[in-house]
């Protein structure tokens, strides 16, 4: 009797899942499946017919220097940006949970980049690189700063990383602050009585206890940076040359510019799998290090 009431209740709950499930199917599963199908064809985006060509698009990817170049750039960019933005966000968060003057003002200021539109950020930084930094370079007589960093293949990578870290760290700071505030003050107090130094407190108490936050932040940042598109479009368009062409930009270019929808879909699927693999590896490494309070 009791049991059947439970199952009927459970069925009722399952009904509630249907709208969500339908949306998921419509906007997520269906596009992915149709992209997989498209990646097995040679569709050019215009023709009314398309031929099924099996996995030959995937074989082409392996020999495509432009894809390799985009992948190398994306991985390097994602790795550097993720590490830098997390280190900086953690440092800022630790400063902002302390009882300093104007704490709330600082918190607000650091959060601003997270709420700005990426396009606006692109335009702001474009002006900074075009006018402000070269002006400072002229004034201070530093030759390296006198040119627009976005126009030079050697400096454009770091110019993009700076913008990414500046914007990306904002949301990470909030997550780290939340994590830091869950650590009870008395642990630090007893550590202080035992004579632990500031550095020791950080490595032995703070770091192990905020691993859950680190897990979230690293995965969030890594996924976002592997899929980088907006900064690149706003700031460099993939140039100069092909120096900053990310995989997502390549997919867009292949599909909409080069009339190679099939091949572009194949690259998209490869990126999709690549991100899943990276995320799973990240989770499995980081989960092991989490400490429950």
């Amino acid at each position: 009797m009791k049991n059947s009431a439970y199952t009927s209740l459970k069925k009722g709950y399952l009904l509630l899942l249907i709208p969500g499930l339908v949306l998921l199917m419509l906007f997520y599963v269906y596009p992915v499946l149709s992209a997989i199908y498209m990646s097995l064809t040679n569709w050019d985006g215009v023709s009314r017919t398309r031929d099924f060509i099996g996995i030959s698009n995937y074989i082409t990817i392996l020999q495509d220097n432009r894809f390799l170049n985009a992948l190398m750039f994306t991985v390097k960019y994602a790795f550097v940006s993720t590490i830098l933005s997390n280190v900086i966000a953690l440092a800022v968060a630790m400063a902002l949970v302390k009882k300093i003057k104007f704490r709330n003002t600082f918190r607000a200021i650091f959060f601003v980049p997270a709420v700005l539109s990426l396009l606006i950020i692109g335009y702001i930084w474009k002006q900074i690189y075009y006018r402000v930094i070269p002006y400072l370079g002229d004034r201070l007589n530093i030759e390296a700063l006198q040119m627009n960093m976005l126009g030079n293949q050697d400096t454009v990578f770091w110019a993009l990383v700076v913008v990414t870290v500046w914007q990306g760290a904002a949301i990470l700071i909030v997550i780290y602050m939340a994590g830091l505030q869950t650590i009870p003050e008395d642990i630090y107090e007893s550590a202080a009585i035992d004579g632990a130094s500031g550095l020791k407190k950080f490595f032995k108490i703070t770091l192990p206890l905020i691993v859950p936050s680190i897990t979230i932040c690293l995965i969030l940042a890594m996924k976002q940076h592997l899929m980088v598109y907006d900064y690149i479009v706003a700031l460099t368009g993939g140039g100069p040359g092909f120096a900053t062409e990310s995989v997502t930009l390549l997919i867009y270019n292949l599909g909409f510019l080069n009339n190679r929808f099939g091949y572009g879909s194949a690259v998209a699927i490869v990126l999709f799998i690549f991100i899943i693999v990276v995320s799973v590896i990240q989770i499995s490494i980081l989960r092991k290090r989490e400490v429950q309070l």
Binding site: R48, Q146, N148, N152, F256, F261
Partner: protein
């Protein structure tokens, strides 16, 4: 609290009702009206078309033309083709692979037998032939040359150069006098090809590209390609110091405000520069790009700028054709407002700055954009620009030619 809530809900309901009413009224009031969507990619021409559309609608009650201009229009148009949502009327460039592909897939309305095609300069209009049928009508032509600052030229007693050596001499002289000889906006990939296609267009004709696409000609080891690349590097030295960090808008700004003496640029920029400098017509002039030392051999690149195609499956073919015919009839008005050469016969060039390129156009010393002949169409063009930007950075001719060779090879079937 309760009161204000009920008030809000009444207001909400009223709003929804009003919204419903709003969406209904146009269909109700204008049952006989036909609306044509005109998708056009030239941001500089929006006002010009608005004026012409207004006149057209006045003459043809019952037909409405809706102009649709979006950033990065050509890409958006490609997307709309891929989803089957083709606008009634849109801009297409002839010869190009994209055009041929669309024509061959029956996306474009056959206009070969329309009377208005006979008003268009046949040399230009014939570029639209695909298997002896035409799927587009040319309205205007762009042209690519050298804009120059007359004031700076006068101050340094310089004459407009007619040869390549003359151009280099002028740039040398300006450079020695601490004037930036030429402004370039090479941070935008497309700016690189406005400059360097001048050399490519002069070196190679239509027949070359046919052999080239068949793999009978190579980039590596070709003295013509090498010479073109050398000239690119030579001219590049005279650009402002941070030309790789300057984009199109910034380049326009620098040139319009007298920060440099010359600008290798297409005529489509004229309305933009006029907006930036009120005295533009007095202070600036145009001359043909001198690619060689023989003035007779130099060519001005000129391709279809506004060419119109109609969707094959449009619901309103007659109304759309009527609008195209109207635009062809009003070509003089269009040319005057747009500041471009016309593809329609009998239209005069009244634009003062544009007169500078007129001798070449009248002598027939013009060449189509070479990239329109390339296998790979817009894609090959985009890749070419990327490699060129790369070349401007590393300045290694052998590497550049090898990159181009591989690039073109990937588009040959």
């Amino acid at each position: 609290m309760k009161k204000s809530f009920s008030l809000l809900s009444v207001m909400g309901a009223a709003l929804i009702l009003a919204a419903c009413n709003n969406t209904e009224s146009p269909t109700e009031g204008a049952e006989s009206d036909t609306t044509i969507e005109f998708f056009q990619v030239k941001a500089e021409a929006v006002n010009t078309f608005d004026t012409l559309i207004e006149q057209f609608e006045e003459e043809n009650p019952g037909i409405k033309v809706e102009q649709n201009t979006v950033p990065d229009g050509m890409t958006v148009l490609t997307t709309r083709f891929s989803t089957g949502d083709v606008p009634d009327l849109f801009i297409t460039y002839p010869v190009e692979q994209d055009y041929v592909l669309r024509a061959n897939n029956d996306y474009l309305l056959d206009i070969t037998d329309e009377d208005f095609t006979e008003k268009i300069n046949p040399e230009i209009q014939d570029r639209y032939l695909v298997d002896d049928r035409m799927y587009g009508a040319a309205l205007s032509l762009n042209a690519n040359g050298v804009l120059y600052n007359k004031t700076i030229f006068n101050d340094h007693n310089l004459e407009v150069p007619e040869t390549w050596d003359g151009l280099i001499e002028v740039m040398e002289e300006l450079d020695a006098n601490d004037v930036t000889p030429v402004i370039m906006g090479n941070q935008n990939v497309d700016q690189t090809s406005i400059f360097n296609l001048n050399f490519i267009a002069q070196q190679f004709d239509e027949d070359y590209w046919e052999r080239f696409n068949n793999g009978e000609e190579n980039v590596v080891g070709s003295s013509e390609w090498e010479e073109a690349s050398e000239k690119m590097l030579e001219a590049l030295q005279y650009a402002q110091r941070d030309h790789m960090g300057t984009d199109y808008d910034q380049g326009n700004d620098l040139f319009a405000n007298g920060q440099g003496a010359m600008y290798f640029m297409g005529a489509w920029v004229l309305p933009t520069l006029r907006d930036m400098n009120d005295n533009f017509d007095e202070e600036f002039g145009y001359f043909p790009f001198p690619q060689t030392n023989n003035p007779e051999e130099n060519v001005t690149i000129s391709g279809v700028d506004v060419g119109l195609s109609i969707a094959a499956d449009t619901d309103h073919p007659e109304e759309t054709l009527k609008f195209v015919e109207f635009l062809i009839d009003e070509a003089q008005q269009f040319a005057d407002m747009d500041g471009s050469f016309s593809a329609v016969e009998g239209v005069e060039v009244n634009d003062e700055v544009l007169q500078g390129l007129l001798p070449h156009v009248e002598n027939g010393q013009i060449a189509n954009w070479p990239n329109h002949y390339w296998a790979g169409g817009t894609a090959a063009e985009a890749d070419f620009r990327g490699h060129t930007q790369n070349f401007f950075n590393h300045q290694n001719i052998d590497q550049y030619l090898e990159d181009l060779e591989n690039m073109f090879e990937s588009y040959r079937n």
